[in-house]
């Protein structure tokens, strides 16, 4: 049994092609930064993964909300919520790792208990906890309800992370694109490569979430099929017993 469809295959191929373009552009076509030199190239992974992690956690919250409201489709929405959170945690880990490397090259330190860095790490740990809680409950419906409440609370951390550089004095620079004054502070090809990175990571995210939620659905189906098979076996036994008597 496969989790792939024609749609996922198309998305997968476009994701591979877009990623290839981002790699070529980031390493060979975009210029180095006048101050940061070549270390600026980390931005083409760091920024898109951060944005997509935010998006993933928002989707987790929306799907969780839907799972609470639309009770006849609770499990379907819950699977999307869980899959999105898993991929979000993966991307957030990439954000933290690339950010740490970039920090060493530009700031001179891998880590600082700075508002942006600390709130990002806290967000990451929150969702690791969320994923752990999802695995505590065996009953899928109870798991869905419990984790939905956590997801709806955890998503409130995102504005705090994003605006931490404005709310507090931070070593981390303010946003270059989605900033409060609306100015874009990036050279043309740098901006285009960054945008391409966002597209590539978004496609990767969609591809991963589609496969992951289908895998969870198959696992749930396997559980139900197993139960049905047990009942059928018992019925057969019972029927055999009645005939024997």
């Amino acid at each position: 049994m496969t989790t792939g469809t024609a749609t996922t295959r198309v998305i997968g191929w476009i994701a591979i092609l877009t990623t290839a373009w981002v790699v070529v552009s980031a390493f060979f076509l975009t210029p180095a930064d006048v101050i940061q030199g070549d270390s600026v190239r980390i931005m083409y992974v760091h920024v898109p993964t951060a944005w997509i992690a935010y998006l993933a956690f928002v989707i987790t919250a929306v799907a969780s909300g839907c799972s609470l409201v639309r009770k006849h489709r609770t499990l379907g929405f819950d699977r999307v919520a869980g899959a999105s959170a898993e991929v979000g945690v993966l991307f957030m880990a990439m954000t933290l790792i690339t950010g740490s490397l970039w920090g060493r090259l530009t700031w001179g330190t891998f880590w600082q208990w700075d508002p942006r860095l600390t709130t990002t790490l806290f967000l990451f740990v929150t969702y690791v906890g969320y994923l752990a809680i999802r695995r505590v409950d065996v009953d899928p419906v109870r798991r869905a309800r419990r984790s939905a409440v956590i997801a709806l609370l955890a998503v409130l951390e995102i504005p705090l992370v994003h605006f931490s550089v404005v709310l507090w004095r931070s070593l981390h620079q303010e946003a270059s694109v989605l900033n409060t004054d609306g100015d874009v502070r990036l050279d043309g090809l740098m901006l285009f490569t960054l945008f391409s990175g966002v597209v590539a990571f978004t496609l990767m995210f969609v591809w991963l979430v589609m496969h992951r939620q289908r895998l969870t659905a198959l696992s749930d189906v396997e559980r139900v099929v197993g139960l049905d098979a047990s009942i059928a076996a018992r019925r057969a036994e019972h029927a055999g017993g009645v005939r024997a008597t």
Binding site: A32, V34, W107, W113, L131, H238
Partner: protein
């Protein structure tokens, strides 16, 4: 038809059930540590040079984090010791640091120095570079422009 299980399996304390609980507890503990570290770190107030001795929490009698730009022509490196003057809003503060600051440290760049102020000199134990959110392509013309306007 009787559907009750014939053999009630022993409730297994399998590692598969226990692992998520351990991870959840661990995540809570790490979350708490993060908050504590953040709050502890905020004891080192992040002050601009012109706020030292003026703003509450930026007393020159305690360990501080001070932000300012490295003055042009003030940077001196001798025998592993780095000294420079940092300024903000027209107020200057001499800084002495035992070591070579990392990152893209250079003149005319904003930095954050951690340390204590002794006799009007910030004895830094750590220096971090605070780069801006502007990214410009490196090319010969821009380098010249940047060099000319760096400290203007």
């Amino acid at each position: 038809m009787d559907l009750t299980p014939r053999h009630v399996p022993e409730p297994r304390r399998s590692s598969r059930r226990l692992l998520p609980v351990v991870v959840a507890v661990l995540a809570s503990v790490i979350g708490l540590v993060i908050v504590v570290m953040f709050l502890t770190s905020s004891i080192d107030y992040y002050c601009n040079v012109d706020e030292v001795g003026v703003r509450e929490g930026c007393d020159d009698t305690r360990r501080v984090r001070v932000q300012g730009s490295v003055d042009e022509g003030s940077l001196q490196s001798r025998a592993g010791n780095t000294s420079f003057v940092m300024s903000f809003n027209g107020v200057s503060l001499p800084v002495n640091y035992e070591g070579e600051p990392g990152g893209v440290f250079q003149e005319c760049i904003p930095v954050v120095a951690h340390g204590r102020i002794v006799d009007g000199v910030l004895l830094a134990t750590r220096i971090e570079v605070k780069h801006s959110n502007e990214y410009e392509a490196e090319n010969a013309d821009r380098l010249e422009e940047a060099e000319k306007s760096a400290c203007s």
